[in-house]
Amino acid sequence: MAIFGDLNHMTLGDLLPLLGAQDGAMEIFNLDEHACVTLYFRSGKLQCLHVGSRPADPLVARSTVSRLVSAKRGSFEFVPGAQAHRCPQPLGWPLDKLLLASVAVQDEINELERRLPHPQTIFRRVRYHEPEDDRLTEFLRRAGDLLDVGASAADIAHRLQIPLDHTQYYLHKLRQLGLLEPVRAQAKRSNRLVAAANLLTSLKHRFFGERQAWNH
């Protein structure tokens, strides 16, 4: 059996159902974002995912699969029977659910587009509560320390090695749940009180003359 080809012609979404009954490793290479990603399957589940030669934790694995599902560039080859030599955190994700979740997240990210927070906006954790969504729980577990002191999506994505838009998506969701808030830069006394007061008087005079009332 030889399963090989190019993601440009056949997406990972097309391939995953094929692999439901196969044990082995799918090597994907010539990708835009990674040199090589290897997915290890057993009994219809994704057991382990390696980025390069390193096993990925669940957060990185989830983001990587999501990226692979929408990847348009990359070559793949399935190696039947191959097993991961190192897999400290076995994933055990059923392929059908994994595919559905990956597609749904990517669709939602595309849909939310500019409603996601700006990459540089700094967020801080304001409430401790475990979300019901496993993805958010996993994200908080990894990013919690950063969010306790305040961190942006760009910082977190860099530190955790996950895609920026996924990080923005998690921050957006956690904010909706009331667990995070954007940080406000701290105001200091500006010595501009007199200038502001004079400006206020001048503007009122300019636009309203002697009338002190203004309606808005």
């Binding site: 500019r114 409603r115 996601l116 927070p117 700006h118 540089q120 906006t121 700094i122 942006s152 954007p182 940080v183 406000r184 830069a185 701290q186 105001a187 200091k188 006394r189 500006s190 501009r192 009180l193 200038a195 502001a196 007061a197 004079n198 400006l199 206020l200 001048s202 503007l203 009122k204 300019r206 636009f207 309203f208 203004w214 808005h216």
Partner: protein, 174 residues
């Protein structure tokens, strides 16, 4: 006397250039180009707008930021050292509210700049009221002002509110 600077920010088509044109005594310096999105007008600001007001011996600069996010580096640059910021959003265009909130969160997390939110097109119903926009944006009601950017006495309203709030807050700081 050192000139003061107020920055006018907000999404594309919010009325930033109009507000500065309405308030400025001098012909505004603008950097407009053909809009790449359907925003209800042909031209949009791509670098900044600049207008001035002479108030006695005090010179006030009004800087308008570009609305498109690809120019977001300009938002931060223009807001640096500003006396305050007015973030405008079109009250009859609720699809822009998430973008406005995103801009506001971004700017305020980087710069401790006093600010108000201005809700434009109050003269063109149906339009969200300032109170409704305040609820959406998670802002105190007093920080959101309704206005018509083409009418001078209305266009100056967010500046007045900004200065009033600044004075109030400055006197409360330790």
């Amino acid at each position: 006397m050192e000139p003061l600077k107020i920055v006018v920010s907000g999404p594309m088509g919010a009325g930033k250039s109009t507000l500065i044109r309405t308030l400025s005594e001098t012909e505004i310096v603008d950097t407009e180009a053909l809009a790449s999105e359907a925003i209800g007008k042909k031209l949009t600001t791509v670098a900044m707008d600049f207008g001035t007001l002479h108030l006695g011996d005090q010179l006030l600069y009004l800087f308008g930021t570009p609305g498109q996010e690809r120019f977001d580096f300009m938002w931060d640059v223009l807001a640096d050292g500003a006396l305050g910021m007015v973030l405008l959003v079109r009250g009859d265009h609720p699809q822009d509210f998430p973008i406005a909130r995103r801009q506001l969160d971004f700017l305020l997390s980087l710069q401790a700049v006093p600010y108000v939110v201005g809700v434009t097109r109050q003269d063109q119903p149906p339009v969200w009221t300032p109170q409704e926009v305040a609820l959406y944006m998670g802002q105190p009601a007093e920080r959101v002002v309704g206005l018509n950017a083409t009418e001078p006495r209305s266009a100056v309203a967010p500046l007045l509110r900004l200065l009033e709030l600044m004075i109030e807050e400055e006197t409360q700081l330790p």
